[in-house]
């Protein structure tokens, strides 16, 4: 019952929106290059499912490698920064600059730095985009150690390293996952968008641009749906990992 009440409203609204969309497009005679009907997109989606799957696999791999690489570097950087206060004061503006870098500006430059058959530029773009939310949130979490825990560890004569591993890191996990949740969707967007600017053309981004270039708009939209699903898979996987990593939280909900 409770489950149905949580799931039903968004599903109903979603179906209504699609029906409304379909009716508007067909009744209003809207040209497909402005907005194709959902039925046309669905037909393309079914027809192109093999291509969508392969492109999503390529983009997903890039996004995943970027996400993991960027997150690992971000967590390590946050740990180092939290240990040395002056460093964290220097690193935050530095990270903010990195965050302000638009992928649109970065992707073409990175594409030129590597061979055209290289997957590295797209993965780098994803990693750079992922870095900031994970770094900032982790740093905040690492800094928020209760003074009581600090004193307790002091009375146990715990070393700085022990303290970091046993108290700071587990205590910061909720913050780390806040960052990862943002980062997981961003990684997919970055991996897809990076392909708009050249480089190896085997992912969702290049399929969207090429379909649009051939004025095959329903096909372009079918790949957009694929990108959307890929982002959703990343986000939900992160949520699942969050549950698994923090049993003390999920156990309370149950």
């Amino acid at each position: 019952m409770k489950w149905a009440r949580a799931v039903l409203p968004p599903v109903v609204v979603g179906i209504l929106a699609i029906v409304l969309w379909e009716v508007t497009v067909t009744a209003g005679r809207i040209a497909p290059f402005i907005l194709p009907a959902p039925s046309a997109i669905w037909a393309q989606f079914v027809e192109q499912r093999q291509n969508i799957w392969e492109a999503a696999l390529a983009s997903g791999t890039n996004a995943l490698i970027g996400l993991i690489g960027g997150s690992v570097v971000a967590v390590l950087a946050a740990m180092v920064s939290s240990r040395f206060r002056p460093l964290s004061e220097v690193s935050i503006p530095f990270a903010a600059v990195l965050n302000a870098l638009p992928i649109i500006a970065l992707a073409p430059i990175l594409n030129n730095m590597f061979e055209s058959t290289s997957s590295i530029p797209r993965r780098l773009v994803a990693a750079i985009i992922v870095f900031f939310p994970v770094f900032i949130n982790t740093l905040r979490g690492l800094r928020e150690v209760s003074p009581l825990h600090q004193e307790l560890m002091h009375t146990y004569a715990a070393s700085g390293w022990t303290f970091a591993v046993k108290v700071r890191l587990p205590g910061s996990l909720p913050h780390v996952f806040t960052g990862l949740r943002q980062a997981s969707s961003l990684a997919v967007i970055a991996a897809v968008v990076a392909e708009y600017f050249g480089g190896l053309q085997n992912g969702l981004g290049s399929r969207i641009t090429s379909a649009a270039a051939f004025t095959a708009y329903p096909r372009a939209w079918a790949f957009v749906v694929g990108a959307c699903l890929l982002g959703l898979v990343f986000y939900l996987t992160t949520l699942l990992l969050e549950r698994l990593a923090m049993p003390w939280r999920s156990r309370l909900i149950a």
Partner: protein, 259 residues
């Protein structure tokens, strides 16, 4: 044997600045092995500061402190004391058992030894069936009992407690007082107990040390010898006499010379 020896200790915060505060001045205190001593006084009298000095969480401005014959710093590094605060301060991501195991982990005990010892301590505070729970699933009183079990885990010769029952309701508090006494009797631990409750101090202690504020100093030291520390003890005339003399000492009237 002396468990704790504090001699001519003073503590000045922000020394040499305009907001300088003399928290403690000229403190001398000897605590014998196995003795239960309460520190009582108005807020701001430095009783918590004194406890933290003994715990080597802060350093004295002048004077020396020894714990079990060693300097306070050396005693801390050997985990020669267990400590509990007003807040339980459990680690929310660790189960109850793992919380109690933490000080043992840092001592480098093996997994099996840790588990055995921690389970024993949990049984002592009556929480063995909650070993697998997370702290947030327990009530405040249960969390405080876990904190006490954790403080006792390394079986320290000295137990330092800073208003550990301060945030609990009266019923829970009295039950935990009795439990604490039983544990101390069983383990032979010396205890320094900070409180602002006169009845609590009298019921628990062999000696109540009364302090006054600004500057914090010891104004009286009152020996308590209750025949029994149970419900009958709480009703006995001697208990009420002691409560009265502590109260008078706190007000700073007649008994001032008792120290």
């Amino acid at each position: 044997m002396t468990a704790v020896s504090v001699s001519s200790v003073s503590k000045i915060f922000n020394q040499g600045r305009t907001d300088e505060v003399v928290a403690l001045s000229d403190i001398d205190l000897e605590i014998k092995t196995g003795e239960f001593v309460s520190l009582i006084g108005p807020s701001g009298c430095g009783k918590s500061t004194l406890l933290r000095l003994i715990a080597d969480l802060i350093a004295p401005s002048t004077g020396t402190i020894t714990v079990a014959g060693k300097t306070a710093g050396a005693a801390r590094k050997e985990q020669a004391y267990g400590i509990a605060f007003q807040q339980a301060g459990l680690f929310e991501w660790r189960t109850v058992l793992k919380n109690v195991e933490l000080p043992l982990e840092l001592r480098g005990l093996s997994r099996a030894e840790r588990k055995a010892k921690a389970s024993e301590m949990l049984a002592l505070v009556g929480l063995e069936e909650f070993a697998g729970h997370y702290p947030a699933q327990l009530s405040g009183g249960m969390q405080q009992r876990v904190a006490i079990a954790r403080a006792l885990a390394v079986q320290p010769p000295l137990l330092l407690m800073d208003e550990p029952f301060g945030a609990l309701d009266e019923m829970t508090r009295e039950r935990l007082q009795s439990e604490l006494l039983a544990i101390c009797a069983k383990t032979g631990t010396s205890t320094v107990f900070v409180t602002h409750s006169i009845s609590e101090a009298v019921f628990l202690s062999n000696r109540v040390v009364v302090m006054s504020a600004r500057p914090g100093r010891i104004t009286a030291s009152i020996d308590i010898s209750l025949d029994s520390r149970d419900e009958a003890g709480r009703q006995s005339p001697h208990y009420f006499e002691c409560v009265t003399s502590v109260r008078q000492a706190l007000r700073g009237s007649p008994l001032k010379s008792a120290s």
